[in-house]
């Protein structure tokens, strides 16, 4: 079984990321021929919600601060890393509740169970819903800000791509 990690975007400068990569080896599906890829996104990729209330999200550089509602964080898919092969997403932040959603354009949306991160900067991971109506065409992270100072610092999508 060949497993290789391709790190896209930023380097391994955060302590939590190597831990996430190590965890991936344990949690990823053990299919006979699959390549694992980890795509790194910064919190700045997320869109604050509601979009029409600019008092609910502070303009951000590399992290998204949220005060009241939530955010949507798109997960970039392409010909190689397709939404159907997305396995889980590691999330790093504080005071947030997150869940992974997949969808097929104009047909259905499905979101997995939520997981929370408390008031200190920490990480968790959220899984792709176990059964879906069909092949998804896209995926996003749905974030709810729990209260106080809430942030999305980084989220890393782990793909398991059949070879």
């Amino acid at each position: 079984m060949r497993q290789s990690f391709l790190l896209l975007g930023r380097s391994l400068r955060k302590l939590w990321l190597p831990a996430a990569v190590a965890a991936a080896a344990f949690v990823a599906p053990s299919s006979a021929a699959a390549e694992l890829r980890l795509a790194v996104h910064e919190g700045s990729t997320c869109y604050g919600y509601p979009p029409y209330r600019d008092d609910l999200a502070i303009p951000h550089q590399y992290r998204l601060y949220g005060i009241d509602q939530g955010a949507y964080c798109p997960i970039r898919a392409d010909d190689q890393m397709q939404a159907q092969h997305l396995y889980l997403v590691f999330v790093y932040g504080m005071n947030i509740s997150v869940r992974l959603c997949v969808h097929r354009y104009g047909q259905w949306v499905q979101c997995g169970a939520a997981k929370s991160i408390g008031p200190s900067l920490s990480s968790t991971w959220v899984l792709h819903p176990s059964t879906t109506p069909g092949v998804p065409t896209g995926a996003f992270l749905s974030v709810s800000f729990i209260g106080g100072v809430s942030t999305v610092d980084e989220y890393d999508a782990l793909w398991s791509i059949p070879e």
């Binding site: 939530g70 047909q107 259905w108 499905q110 939520a114 109506p133 069909g134």
Partner: protein
């Protein structure tokens, strides 16, 4: 409406093709023939139809799973109350649009009927945001509510699965 969307997509692809010109129908430099655009459009349409059939079958299974569950009176009543009061408290969702909440042992069905002065897509997004932020369970919905829009009114059923 669905048919109109499919036709629109087909027209969009065909228009793009005519703008690009005939280059794509010529053999690639490697000598392999490129599939013609009519075939691509046809393939995409049949994929779409197959996906819609899969979605309808999946929704029917979700409904069946819900119907087959017995009611855990304690959990169901408490979760129904939580969902209803959370919806009533939320400032962004369309008021009074949550018409029914029914829970069983681990699953719930939520029925919305939205008649909103705001843009329907905005109301729909607010409901999704509320679902994400108000309760911990996974959920599923057919994303076709806005296709059935009539007089700024649409209906939406959501299946919540708490995997207890």
């Amino acid at each position: 409406m669905c048919t109109r969307i499919v036709i629109f997509r087909a027209l969009a692809v065909a228009t793009a093709a005519s703008l690009i010109g005939c280059a794509r129908t010529e053999p690639s430099p490697g000598g392999e023939p490129t599939p013609d655009l009519a075939t691509l459009v046809e393939t995409r349409q049949s994929e779409d139809q197959a996906a819609r059939a899969e979605t309808a079958a999946f929704t029917a299974r979700m409904q069946q799973s819900f119907d087959n569950e017995s009611r855990d009176a304690g959990w169901a009543a408490e979760f129904e109350k939580e969902l209803a009061s959370s919806y009533a408290r939320d400032r962004t969702v369309p008021k009074g649009a949550l018409k029914q909440v029914e829970c069983r042992t681990s699953r719930c069905v939520l029925d919305f009927s939205v008649k909103s002065a705001r843009a329907p897509a905005e109301a729909h997004t607010a409901i999704l945001a509320w679902l994400s932020g108000s309760q911990p369970c996974g959920f599923y919905l057919e994303d076709t509510a806005l296709e059935t829009l009539q007089d700024s009114r649409f209906d939406q059923r959501v299946y919540v699965d708490c995997e207890r």
